[in-house]
């Protein structure tokens, strides 16, 4: 049963790592703005050949994987 000491030690360490990650995320400002990033991730990555004059109206806001 003494394995429990080890297991609890590991579980608390893992939890503490997550706490550390959370605090780090807060510190780096990830919680300051919870709206804009959600919009930003949907923008397409621009490529040169984009923007021909006639673009379809309906095709807005969907991400396309581009390299």
């Amino acid at each position: 049963m003494y394995i429990i000491f080890l297991m609890i030690a590991i579980s608390v360490t893992v939890a503490a790592c997550f706490l550390g990650a959370f605090l780090w995320a807060v510190r780096s400002g990830q919680y300051d703005d919870d709206y804009t990033p959600a919009v930003r991730m949907l923008f397409e990555n621009d490529t040169e050949q984009q923007d021909t004059k006639q673009q379809k109206k309906g095709s807005k806001l969907y991400p396309e994987a581009k390299t």
Partner: protein, 802 residues
């Protein structure tokens, strides 16, 4: 687009306005004005047309041309240094406030600014705060170029005197998130460690590892006690120092008792303690606080005159050369030039030109005031018409308007509101708790000493009114969100409670009860024939005078050619149309004898044709839609109107407001402030002030709740407790009633939490309070209070139609 085609009205591809006045066809698209077309072309050139794909017609109308010379002051190194956050030789960072941004297209374009100006390295948008953080290379571009570019594409940043104050806008506080994170972490882990106490088959585990689990729990709870829960302790201590009992006092006593008893139990191996309850309570209460703190980031409630004044002004040097100077550096004797629609930043004397000053925002006068050369013009007015030259007679900080801010009202700290429901409840709570605890002690001491201690501490623990302290933040937080959805934005949740107690409502007239941009026009006198009317209109069209423009807006029709047109400043116009000599202007100009003039206080414009006075136009205020309804809904409250305008509207206001209402006219900002003070001091009233302009700033601050009415909530509004979008003005009564309802809801929530407290207390005095009881009671009571508060507000809001 389909809708546009059906109605046969073209909408602008850029800004979505309907093209009424002119339609420009270019690049297979329609534009409403040159400004919009130019922006489109600029974006197209730089391959930024994606802007138009993200949202339809995302642009900001370009009808108002940007005078780019205006930004010359940004070249000034001193101004630049005040605005910029950080600058080194090859990099500079600045944050702009851009209230115009409204959609995802805006975010996209603003974050792709570097494509329009290679000198910009990076832009990051914070949409909720309407801020753009911009990094640029000072060798490649200048601050002025960056701002000019933003203005050109329609996103002119708001740069006001307040930006140069040196007060950098503070980042949102992250403390509460840290506290929440730590409390949540500890709660989860302590809960796991406490689990063996609750179920039978793990009793063996508990016996073997009990003290290990206990000490580990203590270790995990220490940061919660000293960091996460610190806010409750300091607030309670502040209360004690001021000899006041607030809600945090019983909470702190409860938390302290929980923590100390648990440590004592664990160290003396009496039991597992209540640390899971302790960390859980702190966690839940912090959620309540977090909920309460979330407000409307993009709105600014604490603005003073510095946010209204521009940063720079055109100064004329002795040789007549124009240069841009920071307003702060204006000195007495400087000659300044004010163009159409610009603000006069300091009290100044008119030297040249025809001044038509719109004071509606500053003094509440509804019509522009005409000033002649030699008169002193007070700061804050907006010039309409041609550009004028003035000589500064007082420095900005000494002006008539800025003096208002030197009043003590503005230097007073926000008073802590101690008479809130929860604080009063807290007071009774601690009295009752102490009595019950003492009773338990007296009962048990002769019988069982050990039991006596247990009963005493468990009463303190169970009586922790945590559910109580959750009720208010949740009910108010939800109410604030309901209001926000209906375009009524509160500064913080405390305002809800103050709104509920209001018994007197004071309105400003100009711009609050009336629609500032409109005026009703009536014509009195001999009926004009069609030809005569057309002649009058034709002459009016030639004038840029605001009154002429209003009249010509009303008189629809086509104009005829005018010969011999002349305009006399401060008097009127003359012109010949089809052989008719038309003169329009003031009574004195047309030679109307004083005794024949009617309604001298009203704004009137006389008309004469071929030397014969035919009649006059009178301007009336147009009251906002829904004024009647609002006043009806406020029927049980005392109503007053404070107007900076003269009393020519008295009869109409009286009709609108009824006999009871108090009407005061020609009120200066200071008089308004004093009026509110008197209402509060002499009649002990709870006053709500509704105003819109700088002249109401003192009154708004002095009142129990000040609401600033604004046609566009991101525009400047004086410091206040709440901002109400003008389109929601008709619901003011509903808002007030709803805040009253929420107070009932809080009482109901109190009742719910009281049930749990009674159950817990009964068990506590009987000495039956154990960790398992606390582990069940605590989460149930907090969760049910939170759910009840949330659902009841939602239900009440739906019922109230909000």
């Amino acid at each position: 687009m389909e809708a546009a085609l059906q109605t046969n009205v073209q909408t602008c591809y850029h800004c979505g306005d309907s093209c009424v006045e002119e339609t420009i066809l270019a690049h297979d698209k329609t534009f409403c004005c040159d400004g919009c077309k130019t922006v489109y072309e600029l974006l197209e050139e730089n391959n930024l047309c994606n802007y138009y794909n993200l949202e339809e017609n995302p642009g900001i109308t370009g009808k108002k041309p940007v005078a780019e010379a205006r930004f010359a002051y940004l070249d000034d190194a001193g101004v630049e240094a005040q605005l910029i956050n950080f600058k080194s030789d090859n990099i500079a960072k600045i944050t702009f406030y851009i209230p115009q941004m409204h959609c995802s297209s805006c975010i996209w374009l603003l974050e792709n600014l570097f494509k329009l100006n290679p000198g910009i390295s990076e832009t990051t948008v914070n949409f909720l705060r309407k801020e753009v953080s911009l990094t640029y290379f000072p060798q490649k571009t200048t601050l002025r170029e960056v701002v000019t570019l933003l203005a050109r594409i329609g996103y002119e940043p708001e740069i006001t005197l307040a930006n140069t104050d040196g007060k950098k806008t503070s980042k949102p506080s992250r403390t509460i998130i840290y506290k929440l994170g730590i409390a949540g972490f500890a709660f989860g882990n302590v809960m796991l460690l406490a689990f063996p106490d609750y179920v039978d088959f793990t009793q063996g585990l508990q016996r073997t590892f009990g003290s290990f689990f206990g000490y580990l729990s203590i270790l995990l709870s220490i940061p919660v006690f000293f960091y996460s829960a610190r806010g409750f302790f300091t607030s309670a201590w502040e209360g004690i120092k001021q000899r006041m009992v607030n809600i945090d006092l019983p909470i702190s006593t409860g938390l302290l008792a929980l923590f100390l008893v648990s440590i004592f139990d664990i160290v003396t191996a009496r039991g597992p303690g209540y640390l899971d309850s302790f960390t859980g309570l702190v966690f839940f209460m912090l959620i309540g606080k977090y909920f309460q703190q979330r407000t409307f980031d993009s709105l600014s409630f604490d603005r003073d005159y510095t946010s209204y004044f521009p940063v720079s002004i055109t100064v004329l040097k002795e040789n007549g050369e124009e240069s841009s100077t920071a307003v702060r550096n204006l000195k007495v004797g400087d000659r300044i030039r004010i163009r159409n629609q610009e603000l006069i930043p300091a009290d100044a004397m008119l030297l040249h030109g025809r001044a038509m000053i719109d004071y509606s925002f500053v003094s509440g006068e509804s019509e522009p005031v005409e000033k002649v050369v030699g008169e002193v013009i007070y700061a804050g007015g907006r010039q309409i018409g041609e550009s004028i030259e003035l000589e500064v007679v007082k420095e900005v900080s000494q002006g008539y308007l800025t003096q208002l801010w030197n009043d003590t009202v503005f230097s007073k700290d926000e008073k802590q509101n101690l008479h809130t429901y929860s604080n009063i409840a807290g007071k009774w709570f601690i009295i009752v708790t102490m009595m019950v605890a003492a009773g338990a002690l007296i009962y048990w001491v002769p019988r069982d000493m050990d039991m006596a201690m247990r009963a005493f501490t468990s009463v303190l623990i169970i009586a922790c009114p945590c559910a109580l302290s959750l009720a208010t933040p949740f009910v108010h937080g939800h109410t604030m969100r309901v209001f926000g959805r209906n375009k009524f934005y509160l500064k913080n949740t405390g305002v809800v409670e103050r709104l509920a107690k209001i018994d007197t409502v004071v309105f400003d007239k100009t711009g609050t009860l009336t629609e500032p941009s409109e005026a009703e026009l009536t014509y009195t006198g001999k009926q004009l024939s069609e030809a005569e009317q057309r002649a009058v209109l034709s002459v009016m069209r030639h004038s840029t005078h605001p009154l002429s423009q209003r009249i010509s807006e009303q008189l629809k029709g086509t104009s005829s050619p005018v010969t011999g047109f002349q305009e006399f400043a401060g008097k009127g116009l003359v012109g010949e149309v089809n052989g008719m000599l038309v003169r329009v202007g003031s009574a004195a100009y047309l030679g109307v004898p004083a005794e024949k003039q009617k309604d001298t206080l009203k704004t009137t414009v006389y008309v004469s044709i071929d030397g014969k006075v035919l009649g006059y136009y009178t301007f009336y205020n147009v009251y906002r839609e829904g004024v009647q309804q609002v006043l009806q809904e406020l029927g049980d409250k005392k109503i007053a109107v404070l107007s900076g305008d003269n009393d020519h509207e008295e009869a109409r206001l009286r009709e609108l407001l009824g006999k009871e209402a108090e009407l005061s006219f020609n009120q200066s900002p200071v008089q308004k402030l004093e009026y509110i003070q008197q209402l509060k001091a002499r009649e002990n009233r709870q006053v709500l002030m509704v105003g819109d302009g700088l002249n109401d700033a003192g009154a708004l601050k002095q009142s129990d709740a000040g609401i600033a009415l604004s046609n566009s909530v991101t525009n400047f509004s004086p410091s206040c407790d709440a901002i109400l979008d003008a389109s929601a003005f008709d619901r003011l009564g509903t808002f007030l009633n709803f805040s009253k309802t929420t107070m009932t809801l809080i009482l109901l929530t109190f009742a719910v939490s009281l049930v749990y407290n009674v159950i817990g207390l009964t068990m506590a005095v009987m000495g039956l309070f154990t960790p398992i009881v606390s582990a069940i009671l605590m989460p149930i009571s907090t969760l049910s209070v939170m759910t009840f508060a949330t659902l009841s507000v939602k239900y009440a809001a739906r019922k109230a139609g909000l």
